[in-house]
Amino acid sequence: MVVPPVVLMASENTEREGDVLGLGPKERVRWAKGLDLPRGPVNGTIFYAGEVYPIMGYAEGAFRMMSRLKLDLNSMAKVAPLFKKLGIYRVVARASWSSLNSRYEKALKDAVYVLKKLDVKFGYLYEDEPPSGIALHTYGLLEDFKRYASEVAAKFRELGVSKIITLDPIAATAFKHYYPVFTEFNVKVEHFVQVVARRMAETGAKASLRRKVRVTYHDPCYLARVMGVVDEVRYVLSRLDGVELIEPERHGVNTGCSGDGGLELTQPELARKVSYERVKELAETGASLTLTSCPACIMMLRVGFDDLSIKMDVLDLASLVAEAFRNRLEFEGPQEVSFKEYKVLPDTLRWDLSNLGERLREYTDLCKKCGFCNAVCPTAQALDRLESRSARGRMTLINALVRGEPLSSEKVLDRLYSCVLCGSCSQTCPVGLHVQEIIVYGRAYAIMTGRV
């Protein structure tokens, strides 16, 4: 097997328990305790918590502990098959669990609170909620993802779900962009902020904080670049008195990566380095609070700020909105606003897994080696423009692998796993190549044809 032990573990956990840490459904529904959410869809609609928010506190705890103890997950997993069997992450995660999880659980609770205040109707699936399995896609285990996705799609059909509202932009992307490629899927998906912005505009909702705060907003790649959701965030913030938004240099569809995208698990040291560029930029705004809308971004930004000893609080957008709503909320009547759905990426690639080699060859042959993608590639920047871990370099390596050059699939995969899937490359490529997705398919190819 050419995949590294952590990825193996993450995928096994995902398949067995539904999340990369293997914490399981019981743990994942804990956040909803006491909220009395109706079980099952309401008018076909559910609030979808997904498999990332509910476990993020554990993940952050584990991430911090592993690096404090200078433990390397891969080698631990290698020498301790027993640990692996138990789900090493689970052990470490539990041991290191602190109050960290409350932040992420609270974001979910706050989101539900805000939606209710805006009179949005939805139910919750509790233990029946099928995880999106996005990790399988991220790590290029596309055959598994395909099977998994069709099971999930069937489950939604069985439960009568026709619309998903989620706080998790990673799950939203999975359902919106990847599920339809791999399976029959016609559930409508909206991110929390899309629903909130629309409802706020319809009702003229206006709220105010008790405090005055200068905030900056970190656009998550999945939300801004992939889903094209940018204006909604600005509108919502503009309707909160007491909030002053200061945009960082890279924002909106041109946002910069905070170092997650799966890298935090496979190559945590590089993930950290990527986060540094971003947290410095956020700190330069002079804001005292960073808002964002992605659990993995929250974790990496928190780690980055701590590592660089920058005093900055990081909060989910939902939590600040809830804070304001709780303080004072009025409705001024319908407002005239429109939100653009930005499209800055090429169309999602719909490739058949049976002839990946040909497709990859064809597309990577089109790369002109112009380097435009490298100029925006966060891992290239974090590694002083090391070619083999840059966007263009990955294209070259995939091309070499499918051409049958004498390279080890395992080691090429390691270079491909160093990518955070931010999509900046795809946005920039003059040829219009969807580099980010080509890298995911490249991972799949390396795994499927694995030469060690």
Binding site: D365, L366, C367, K368, K369, C370, G371, F372, N374, A375, D384, R385, L386, E387, S388, S390, R392, G393, T396, L397, A400, E405, P406, L407, S408, K411, V412, D414, R415, P430, V431, G432
Partner: protein, 456 residues
């Protein structure tokens, strides 16, 4: 002596030998030839570079310096294997506004240097279209130019002083960061355009320029290429000295229209002109340009509003993307003509296109006579490949015949070595080549620097 062992002994982890790392460096933006180097060394300092050139010289190992790898001529492909010296980690920049210069290490990108200067109300004028990834060292080694060349010239016009490392590892300073200094013959120029064949530029002190107060952009549309050519000539003759003067033929405009879906009017030729200067004067110059365009049968539109300016530039901005999206294979020509002969040149280029029947959208920095006919072909069709190569040669020979040159900015590299001889012959100067080779022998007696490039 084992080169890799020596290198690792001196440079440790900066030496990459895993195939999965070094394979990433097999080619540059010419994207034709592929060759895997023996090892890649990532230089973080002048000292690192010096060590590499000492070891390489002792072991007679070829060294190819590489910056952003955006060369369009194969100049940074390690055709003879050997050491690929990656200088991108050396990217320090220091702006000295008081003395009017910026110091950049070899690997700093041209765009970053410009950006740093802008923080102080200055800018760095040369702006190759690749500036976001192309490096200062290489831009000097290629004598790169850009859009602003019409007024501000090319890299060589901006150098005050260099630090270079020559084979054997000796570090030399050439000149000082002063606007004037005299040390006898100017050896800075020796390294300009040397394409990594003489030594490694490690640091450069470059002149900076105050940001213009105002820029006005004018778009001109013409019913014939000839009219556009005449307008360009007249603008140049009027003494206006535009910052930018770009020309696009109908094929270029059509390709962008098709690819981008933008609303672009039908036209035989488009020019885009920027004039800059003090607030009070710049519109007067812009109006003069507008008049010239009108006099030559063109329609003009001018603006100083940033958003409008972006719109007027959209076609030029989108041309590389449009061409590369439409055609799989593209050979980007880089010929120069005397500005007075542009009209004739454009006519002749059209004839070549008709003769071979391959698409060849032509655009370029017409303000300084530098055109980029883009020869488009299908790389999987041997006949088209052959045709494309012949066209490439014929366009270059046309330039030479008309008193122009085979390359304005992209350089010689691998792809234009033989053509260089033709150009030298045309001015009876094969002796130039002999002299350059002798100079190379003095600096690089073992011929380790970028072998196989530049010199036929």
């Amino acid at each position: 002596m084992d080169v890799i062992k020596e290198l690792k002994g001196e440079l440790g982890e900066k030496v990459l030998t895993e195939p999965e790392d070094i394979y990433a460096y097999v080619t540059d933006a010419s994207n034709v030839l592929r060759q895997v180097p023996l090892a890649v060394v990532r230089a973080y300092s002048t000292e690192d570079v010096s060590k590499v050139l000492r070891i390489a010289n002792e072991t007679s190992t070829p060294v190819v310096v590489r910056g952003g790898g955006t060369s369009l001529t194969g100049a940074s492909v390690p055709v003879k294997g050997g050491i690929l010296l990656d200088v991108t980690p050396m990217d320090g920049i220091e702006v000295n506004v008081d003395d009017g210069w910026v110091m950049a290490e070899a690997g700093a990108t041209v765009a970053k240097v410009d950006q740093e200067c802008r923080k102080y109300g200055y800018f760095f004028p040369p702006d190759p279209a690749s500036s976001r990834y192309a490096t200062i060292g290489a831009a000097l080694a290629e004598n790169a130019g850009g859009l602003r060349g019409a007024k501000y010239g090319v890299m060589k016009n901006w150098v005050l002083s260099l630090e270079v490392v020559i084979p054997g590892g000796e570090v030399l300073r050439i000149g000082k960061p002063l606007y004037k200094w005299r040390w006898g013959p100017d050896l800075i120029s020796l390294f300009i355009g040397s394409e990594g064949t003489l030594g490694v530029i490690t640091k450069a002190w470059l002149r900076i320029y105050p940001l213009p107060e105002k820029v006005v952009r004018i778009l001109g549309l013409f019913n014939s290429l000839e009219d556009a050519g005449r307008a360009i000539f007249e603008i140049r003759r009027s003494g206006i000295l535009p910052t930018m003067l770009e020309l696009l033929d109908d094929e270029s405009v059509n390709i962008v229209r098709e690819q981008s879906g933008l609303d672009i009017p039908e036209t035989e030729a488009m020019i885009i002109v920027d004039v800059d200067g003090p607030k009070e004067a710049v519109w007067r110059l812009a109006n003069q340009v507008t008049e010239i365009i009108g006099r030559n049968g063109g329609k003009a539109e001018a603006s100083d509003d940033p958003e409008e300016m972006k719109r007027l530039y959209a076609v030029r901005q989108g041309i590389y993307a449009a061409v590369t999206r439409t055609y799989k294979g593209v050979l980007i020509e880089d010929v120069v003509f005397p500005v007075s002969k542009l009209v004739e040149a454009l006519r002749e280029i059209k004839k070549i296109k008709e003769k071979y029947g391959l698409p060849m959208p032509t655009f370029g920095h017409a303000g300084d006579g530098n055109l980029h006919p883009n020869i488009c072909y299908d790389p999987d069709d041997p006949e088209q490949v052959k045709k494309a190569e012949e066209m490439f040669r014929e366009v270059a020979l046309l330039a030479i015949r008309m008193g122009g040159s085979l390359s304005g900015e992209h350089g010689i590299g691998l792809t234009k070595k033989e053509l260089l001889v033709e150009e030298l012959k045309s001015v009876n100067s094969l002796g130039y080549l002999k002299l350059v080779k002798e100079i190379k022998r003095v600096l690089d007696p073992k011929g380790i620097m970028n072998p196989g490039k530049l010199y036929p």
